[in-house]
């Protein structure tokens, strides 16, 4: 029994460390990426004995230290308890949402089968959606507890936006669930290991291309980044719901942003791009379409799967950074129009079409 508890604890620790380090690295990727796109050098100031490590020292050491040592200011008439609680409430659901994503198939050590998924839940996708829907409280609380008009307006904007785009996101997931006939994320990824016609990996995007686009748009809107960064606005709302935050709490809001990017990337990977699947890699090794095989030990296969998951997640993180520094932002009415009159009918049509096809010719897997 204690071994099981230990394994669960290790899995939980791995997930927390993975999300937090991804969030940190994404901070660096964002700075360097924006510099690349804007033809600048980027974060390169702080260094230790002349070693700047391409800005890593700046982003991962100097800035966190600076945030940690800054004064923590709570506005005079703010709600002290809720003001402190808001960044925690904001960060917590995003980290635990990642726990339901499978990062590999099963690992067998000494006859013990370990699923490489922190929470092996048969309603995994519902769990992720539930946790993401709790993320709105951090925004609402941060906006309200600061006792500041900019914060309140930012908080209301942010929560209205998150609620609006959750619907489109949920509906695109519904179409995906109908395609695979399961709510279990691990089962979804396993289903994507099939080969269509013996050579084409049956990744979700082949069945749900429209669903993928809707999901990605809603995901970016959920993380409140450009082009959907309405809760913030330097000229009108300052930093929106986290205007009145400083020091570590401010950093927590920032980390939530990056953790959300990582979770969205993980979800897109899991639902639409085969999760930990490597094309032609079965449990025993590579089986290529021509008939050629390359047998590999189990540990190497698992490592390849975890690596494939990480590479895909990093790719979609990078895609989101690219989007953020390429597109101009929407206006607030455009944002609402896009969510309610654009994505919502589109995702409903997608659900209807998927249901019709599944009913007529059966689910593909």
């Amino acid at each position: 029994m204690w071994i099981e508890v230990g394994i669960a604890a290790i899995k939980a620790l791995v997930v927390i460390l993975m999300v937090l380090s991804l969030a940190g690295v994404l901070g660096w990727v964002e700075r360097k990426g924006s510099a690349l796109i804007q033809d600048r050098v980027g974060a390169n100031r702080a260094s230790i004995f002349g070693v700047a490590a391409a800005g890593l020292v700046n982003t991962l050491m100097a800035d966190p230290l600076k945030f940690l040592t800054k004064e923590d200011i709570i506005p005079a008439r703010a709600d002290r308890l809720l003001h402190t609680l808001a960044p925690c409430v904001n960060l917590f659901p995003v980290i635990v949402a990642f726990a339901a994503l499978p990062i590999g198939d099963v690992l067998t050590i000494g006859g013990r089968v370990i699923t490489l998924q922190a929470i092996p839940l048969n309603v995994g996708i519902l769990y992720v959606l539930a946790m993401l829907s709790l993320g709105v409280y951090g925004v609402v609380l941060g906006g309200w507890a600061s006792n500041d008009r900019f914060s309140l307006l930012g908080g209301i904007r942010g929560s209205a936006q998150m609620i609006s785009y959750e619907i489109g996101m949920g509906l695109s997931v519904v179409a995906m669930v109908m395609t695979f006939g399961t709510l279990d994320l691990q089962a979804m990824v396993r289903a994507q290991g099939h080969l269509i016609g013996g050579w084409l990996p049956a990744w979700g995007i082949l069945y749900q291309p429209l669903g993928f686009l809707i999901f990605l748009c809603c995901g970016i809107a959920e993380s409140k980044r450009v082009p959907f960064d309405m809760p913030e606005g330097e000229s009108e709302l300052i930093a929106g719901y986290f205007t009145e935050y400083s020091g570590m709490k401010y950093l927590m809001f920032f980390m939530t942003d990056f953790a959300e990017v990582a979770v969205i990337a993980g979800l897109v990977t899991t639902l639409f791009f085969g999760g930990w699947q490597v094309p032609f890699l079965m449990s025993g090794g590579f089986h290529f379409p021509g008939g050629a095989t390359l047998l590999l030990p189990q540990l190497l296969v698992v490592l390849l799967q975890v690596a494939a998951f990480m590479v895909k997640v990093l790719f979609f993180c990078w895609l989101q950074v690219l989007v953020r520094w390429t597109l101009p932002r929407l206006r607030y009415d455009q944002l609402m129009w896009f969510g309610w009159k654009g994505l919502l009918p589109l995702s409903l049509a997608n659900v209807l079409a998927t249901a019709t096809i599944v009913l007529a010719i059966g689910a593909p897997v």
Partner: protein, 197 residues
């Protein structure tokens, strides 16, 4: 802090006593599941008290969110995963956000003296005691009858089973509910649009 922990411990002992007395379970056969239930129940009672005792409407609403979330955790401990997740998505994640919105937008001041009026107090007392009576009745005569914990049937709490029940046994209720919701939406739009014209 210490007072809070003391109250929590007291509530836990009370809920364990309730498990023993009402559930008819031997003190010797209490297990970790019962303790978890007692902890969840006590926390839920505390946060439910927070809903009615807090003076600030926002804090009341947040206590309600905590209560609903703990209820979802209780569902998880009862192996009802789908219901637990839907509880979080629908109640904690959507409905309570609207509550908070309304409170924030109306800018309710702390401690509105609605309860000061005799009529409101009388009505609250009547409704409250009716609810207490109903609760006491169902504790004394549970719907399924008291029975020893049996092994869970296969597929218990799964979405397949839920869907099957929903679309066979409860189909009429399901459809009526959806029509009711549609009527509510149309009504809300009509009420909201009337002022614009």
């Amino acid at each position: 802090m210490l007072v809070g922990l003391g109250v929590l411990a007291l509530l836990m002992i009370l809920s364990l006593a309730g498990v023993v007395v009402v559930g008819g379970i031997d003190v010797a056969s209490l297990n970790a599941g019962h303790v978890v239930f007692a902890l969840l129940a006590s926390l839920m009672i505390l946060s439910a008290l927070g809903v009615i005792l807090n003076r600030s409407p926002i804090r009341s609403a947040l206590s309600l969110v905590v209560t609903l979330f703990l209820l979802a955790v209780t569902f998880v401990s009862l192996n009802a995963y789908v219901v637990a997740m839907l509880q979080v998505i629908v109640y904690a994640g959507a409905i309570m956000v609207l509550f908070l919105f309304v409170i924030m937008l109306l800018n309710l001041q702390e401690d509105r003296p609605a309860m000061a009026r005799a009529g409101v107090r009388g009505a609250a007392a009547v409704v409250g005691s009716l609810f207490l009576l109903a609760a006491a009745h169902f504790v004394a005569h549970p719907l399924g009858g008291t029975q020893a914990a049996a092994a869970l049937p296969a597929g218990f709490g799964s979405i397949e089973q839920l869907a099957e029940n929903l679309f066979t046994r409860s189909l009429l209720a399901f459809e009526v509910t959806s029509i009711l919701l549609l009527v509510a939406i149309v009504g809300a739009v009509v009420l909201a649009k009337r002022k614009l014209e």
